[in-house]
Symmetry: C6
């Protein structure tokens, strides 16, 4: 069929840096061993995607990631016919590739996808483990290694955008949050190659911001932004400027919130 | 015409595990013998799809399942022209295949499909038993073995998404619910290969959650999730962690509901 | 042109069973003789489609039925260009076929179609009796035998979905309703090959339900569902179970209404 | 270019029956002689289309009619590329054909078209008298005989569907209404070949209904429906039945209005 | 590339009649000399398009006019790939043609276009003067003669349809209004070849109507309609009938407004 | 693959004039050196695009600019298959080109794009620096020189159109505003080659208008419009006329605001 496809390009070549926070690695391994579909919940930038990548590396399975969006159709996941010199040719979508060749398929920010489009994953997530390609007239039986993983951020969940219960009830779920201060300091220090003193100060600024969530901020400052700030400091930018640029300006346009956070920065990097 | 299509791939090879709860098997057989279209109603994960699969196996008929969704067009059900080396070629959709070759066609979660798209099934569900392929200029007369089955979950039914009366009145209907405790315990124990003692405890947690339906939970815990929890326990995960991961985190993001269910778990697996 | 099309496949081979209720056959014949477009109004499942089929058989004209739906475009009615080995090839739609070859064209549930799409039928329904195929640059003059028939259910009519006056005023209209008790008993008995005693009991249940229309039920029980119930009884299902399955479960998800109807069934089949 | 197109098929071969009501023929001729675009306003079925046809016959110009609808795109009016054996081939739309070959182009029920789509007619309706085919890179200069005519029914005009002032101000306008009693009697008698006595009675029923416009009826009974009633009477249907079928049932589903009109019929055909 | 395109067909061959009202010609020339994009504002039919045509003739530059509408996509402006005998072939859109060959591109009624589609003109309206053809991978540098002109009618401007500030701030703007009485009389007299006496009377009717703008009329009577009335009078239609047909019926369906204007006509043409 | 693509056409050939206002150049360089994605915030016409162009020139990297709009699909950014003589051929979109060949990709006015479409940039903006071409089955690893820059105007930010937090938290952000008076005077004088006296007067008019922002004006007068006014003055237009045309008419249709600004112009150019 489409035998020329090279699944090995989706192998994670190098071990991704990941600092475990709890028993999440054990839980995931048990879920994978039972081939249960897994749902990863948690706020923006707390390390969900990194964790999945780490697990794919640890389990030595290819990882196919799909950034979901509202315009994504079922065909974008499953595949479509393309016109060829000899007529039409079927091209598997990422979900079909993962099912056929035994990859972990990671649907990132799945609530962004149209609620009703997500039903195409149903037959892959129950005892059938099949994917009907209606347009092709083929019934793909999932490779024994195949697993489906989805992520979503409950904070964004609205009446308009929520997973259906009939979808949710097909997953075992893991909750993520920002790491503990000490762990996060270590992560920032290691990732950005910066002193733990500066990393600790950055984490303390993040703590201040995270308390403002729901009080003028939609989300706190993510670990990723702390790494950005550290990178700018490493690049010679004064800490206060680096924090303004990497921690405050991206997340708010509100003058009061901006001033509050700027003062916190000045106090901590006094 | 499309004589190369292999309907046998839709035969159910192995007997699917199914534990009858009532006279549903007799009722379905009578409906099939009269070739009445059948509507299966019931909550998420109570075994509707499994039942249809079981009946297809028992009646020794191929089963073509379509997971319905809002983006599904009439062409997705009926078929379309594809471009070929020699021009266009007609490709039957799943509904047409089932009608032509005598399969049971199962439209899963039919309320998800656009209300008005569902009218294409009308001529197949009355005395005509025909399917006009307007774009092809062909009138398919259904194979004597053909039957149409649809499922839907009344709990999701809203003003925007309900079947039209003119559609509903074309089906005989069967109501499903979660199995009785004793039956469900047996199902979980058998499916997940776990002791009836643990299975019973899992069912008791489900009972607690199902009482919360409409009081903070949109749906109770399905039998499928109980089997997930058992699989994690079999994989070495402590029962409390397994229940949190498989029974609670997938179905709610509400802190209070989560705590209530976590306490129930701790009490039952004390 | 498209001379290969075989209109005879749309001839009604066998006389469809139809029990006249009034002077509807005479009225329809007069309308057909004057080639007036006809609108058939009435509730779900009262026999509108069967009547049209009967008339097509009686008048010995081919009948092309189109189940209308919201996604139906003017091209679905009129025709389109398809890609061929030698470029594009025009394929007549069902309305064009009927106009060209002299069939009765029956647009079932026409209110489902987009209000503005229905204007394509206008030039076929006045003195012009032509159908302009704009994309093909052809003006089809209707065959002398051609007639247009539409059905709709006034109960479904809403502000959003109603025919425009400029469309309505192109039709002579006939109103249908459920048949009288005695007539309906005969229909059910004959169609389902069941005793008039049982048929009479089924009709009495339907009478009860039809009184609930507008008081919890959107529609009453149709004659079709009575035939379903009789078929299940013929298949060995106890009458009470058959009625629950064929008459009640399809039309309501409301517990109170369901109980009311179940009690009526138990009283009548006591 | 597209020299093979045969404009003569759009010539009106036989004189259409038309009974002038006022100076409308003189006004139209003056407008045509100055090549002014013309807008015909008036209620459903009062003879707007018939008048345009009559004028096209009188002026001996081909008439290209387009029934406008909401799904009509600018390409449907102007033309598009179709795929051919030798690649794509441009096919003129009806507006382009009329402009190129000097026909009268009649856009029927123009308010149905998307308000903004109608701007494509602008360059044809001012001193430029050109039609830019953007997709083809051609600027069509209108044939000297070309004229644009539009119709619309002010009664349907809503905030959502009205012509833009910048479109309206490109037309000279003529107002139509139902004909006077005596004229209408003559029309019905002549068109349906029926006695003036019966025709007069039919017109009196129409008068009753037209007074109900805005008081339960959206529109009165059109002349066309009177002709339908006469045709049914000619076909042997009793006058009261014919009037119910042709005059009342098509225009209302309201029981009270229906009864009022039925009584009027019984009184007049007593 | 697309060297076969003949830009000279867009040259204005004959001097368009234009009566200057103020310093608008000088202002436009200065803007063109600095290649500033120009926005022409003013009510319907006050001569905006005529002015642009006049300037294109005066500056001896080709003029490519695009009548904007809501369905217009960026591709309609910029270009697209069409299928050819040898595969796909790029066809420049009108904006690209104007930029490539140095024409004035006039986007008429630009507010009709989707607000966000208009951003494609941005890179052509700042110091870059480039047009990226993303789908073709080409960056068109505008010809030195290229200029962009847009028109819009502030009266139609609504919250839903307004130009974005980031679009507006890319244009120098000129405001137009109906001409002074004496100027307008001269225009009507000259354009329609009618006596200044009649022209003056027509202008006085227009003055009356323009005072009703905002008091029952959306727009006043345009100069164009006055020319229409004069043409009908020239064609032998009595002045009062001509004015009713050309000045009143096109712009209002309101009985009171119509009567007011009809009385004004009778008074002036007493 | 698509080796024929010439990235050098996106090199900025000449140094764009840019007057630094603060430490923005140093901040941007540090961000680029760490390959952090950058978000540029600020009002219309304050020089955001110019700054990015300047930085691309200074860093000697090609710059691919995409004017975002609501109709932009993920395919417009990423690429698509086009039909060729030999079947389909993949064509990289601007984002893919930038990632593949190491350009700076500048998404201008990114909030205009559909919120959910923007998720396609996510994998390019975290540690992965990859772009999955799902339809092509290729995983593009970004060139070491690639950087992503987005601009947006917080003033336009509404509930409907805002970046998601999960997008925002992938960028370091820089805030821009209109330059200080003295700096802006220098810019206008230099760009438009006009005396600093006139430039100063123009800047003072802009100051007046910017105070009206939120009090009748949606935006102040941009630096770009000041340069337009200067260009018109250079072209011989009196200063008051030039200011009306370039500074006032483009930004408001409100009579009061217009008068206020006209008076300010008359006072300053007294």
């Amino acid at each position: 069929m489409t035998t020329e496809f090279d699944i090995t390009q989706y192998q994670i070549a190098e071990q991704p840096y990941y600092q475990a926070q709890n028993n999440e690695i054990t839980l995931y391994e048990a879920a994978y061993n039972a081939r249960l579909p897994v749902m990863i919940k948690g706020p923006t930038g707390c390390g969900k995607s990194r964790f999945v990548e780490h697990m794919a590396w640890k389990l030595n399975k290819p990882l196919i990631t799909v950034a979901c969006n509202e315009d994504m159709t079922a065909s974008d996941l499953v595949g479509r016919y393309l016109l060829d010199a000899n007529g039409t040719r079927w091209v598997d979508g990422p979900l079909t590739l993962a099912a056929r060749y035994g990859a972990i398929c990671y649907l990132d920010e799945v609530v962004e996808a149209r609620q009703d489009t997500t039903v195409v994953i149903h037959p892959l997530t129950d005892h059938r483990r099949t994917l009907p390609l209606d347009k092709k007239g083929e019934l793909v039986v999932a490779h024994p290694d195949f697993q489906l993983v989805i992520s979503y951020n409950p904070g964004y969940q609205s009446l308009m955008k929520d997973l259906k219960q009939s979808t949710k009830q097909r997953f075992a779920a893991m909750e993520f949050d920002y790491p503990l201060c000490s762990v996060e300091t270590e992560i920032v220090s290691k990732e950005a190659n910066i002193s733990t003193d500066i990393a600790d100060k950055l984490v303390r600024i993040a703590e201040t911001a995270r308390k403002l969530k729901g009080h003028g901020l939609d989300e706190g400052i993510s670990t990723r932004l702390l790494v950005y700030a550290a990178a700018l400091i490493n690049g010679g930018i004064p800490a206060r400027d680096a924090c303004r640029m990497a921690l405050v300006r991206p997340i708010t346009d509100d003058k009061d919130i901006r001033d509050t956070l700027d003062h916190a920065i000045d106090a901590i990097f006094a």
